[in-house]
Symmetry: C2
């Protein structure tokens, strides 16, 4: 009998994973144990309040629930701060303990949440097993360490392990300080908006698509790392202009007023071939449709 546990279930990604789960025995954790506002599939979810940074509490939870499938989405992801936060070192430690405990309790399938920030600079698309993993942040290093440690635990305990490297998610529930919510807030103020040149190319993926892809990957038998991206590279400028157009706020945009962040990559786009070939995925929501749905939910 399959029993799914989603950690970080009230987070931006976690809630969309829960919404994408079909009929199953689903458990979720959050710090408070309360479902998030935007959680669409809460009717079948049993919530647990737990501090996953407390190893004893985590072990007690796993022993009580005994999940067969675990989607580990809980990390420190506070916008801007998350990238170099020492907290993610603690999330790495707690992740190791979680994977070990999951294995000892007979868990079968562990899907961890990775990030495109694990990849080093790449001229082309990022390939899971070819593009070097050369992170430039504490966050990227902690995630890459977790994936390696997870594979060690999987070999030791004999469970199946997979890793979803999420590219640039946007959509309902996006934390306020991130690109799109902060642009929408600026549009409302009606004041000029200073931006960088915006020519950096990113792989934006609608968060409900992220949830669907991760749910699909969790239920597959596939080991290994998989990109969770749209596979479509667009410039940040194009996203900002599309959003401004939908809000009739084009005249507020002032590109080139800000410098780029130091060390910012020019292009981060997913190769999606591995995921699509093995998991038989449905197409992603287009950027235009995704942005319109994001606006309606705002």
């Amino acid at each position: 009998m399959m029993r799914i546990l989603v950690t970080g279930g009230s987070g931006f990604i976690g809630r969309h994973c829960l919404a994408a789960m079909g009929d199953a025995d689903i458990h979720a954790t959050s710090r408070t144990g309360a479902p998030s506002r935007a959680d669409g599939g809460a009717s079948t979810v049993t919530w647990h309040a737990v501090d996953l940074l407390d190893p004893a509490a985590t072990a007690a939870l796993i022993e009580r629930i005994r999940p067969t499938h675990l989607l580990h989405a809980a990390w420190e992801a506070t916008p801007v701060l998350y990238a170099q936060s020492p907290e993610n070192q603690r999330w790495l430690e707690s992740g190791l303990a979680l994977a070990d405990c999951f294995g000892r309790m007979g868990g079968q399938r562990f899907l961890g949440l990775g990030t495109s920030a694990e990849y080093g600079p790449s001229d082309g698309d990022c390939h899971e097993d070819e593009t070097p993993v050369l992170p430039a942040s504490v966050y990227g290093h902690a995630k890459a360490a977790m994936w390696q440690a997870l594979q060690a635990a999987a070999r030791i305990h004999g469970f199946s392990a997979s890793w979803g490297r999420v590219f640039l998610p946007y959509g309902p529930g996006d934390p306020l300080q991130r690109l799109i919510p902060s642009l929408l807030a600026a549009f409302r103020k009606g004041e000029p908006i200073a931006l960088s040149d915006g020519l950096q190319v990113r792989d934006f993926i609608f968060a409900p698509d992220v949830g669907r892809q991760l749910a699909r990957l969790l239920l597959s038998e596939r080991d290994g790392a998989y990109n969770i991206g749209s596979g479509v590279g667009v410039s940040i400028r194009e996203v900002v202009e599309t959003l401004a157009h939908l809000n009739r706020a084009q005249d507020l945009l002032q590109f080139g007023q800000l410098p780029r962040r130091p060390g910012e990559a020019q292009r981060i786009v997913a190769s999606t071939g591995k995921f699509r070939e093995l998991v038989d995925a449905t197409p992603c929501t287009t950027l235009d449709a995704g942005l319109r749905m994001t606006l309606r939910s705002d």
Copy 2:
């Protein structure tokens, strides 16, 4: 004032690192605190008995010694068993705690001991920042996880971090169950020796060269991963035949009698350009000279 700490100082690699250290304030740990028999530079080494798997003992040691430079060579490396041993998951955990403690205590430079087993299959030489890290063992995954976690700790605490991926070391002090000591024992018995075809190509490096390269890397200011190899690929067959020739035991060799181990890579050879360019290394001992010196020490 530089103070160097070498963990695993009585191990096969650790002892050669100690022997290669120049005049400095050098401390070393082992489980028993006793220097190894083959330790050449023990006169200037202060030994400490510590169980590094005990976080409190490790923290107390670091607080007492306050090393500026740390060469972390302690892992589970019992021949054959080490590759899939769950112990290396515990060494990973203790390594994270060690790196964190080292950073909090003001440490400046941390060099960790990696392995060629971190690399995935490669037709050519293994390049530090290009060849995908795709281990096939608990050992390889734990090492790769440690390197990523070490870089996270280095960013958090602001110390310099480097990683030496050691290829196939041989020489004085080689544990008895490994290739060359076990061949020498078999030659002494004078009985036929069943071998695989031996056509696997490996990068054999004389252990004193490993010690010298790691000591050099520790004292350099270089961040990043570096291969510790000779850069020369030779077949295992060639090594066995050379050793048999030196022992007049060629007639004992029976190649092709054993199957290869499942999943064994055909070729694992270091690209040494990055190390040689940045660290200005001296040439490695030739295989013939290294084997002769190994025999003399046996």
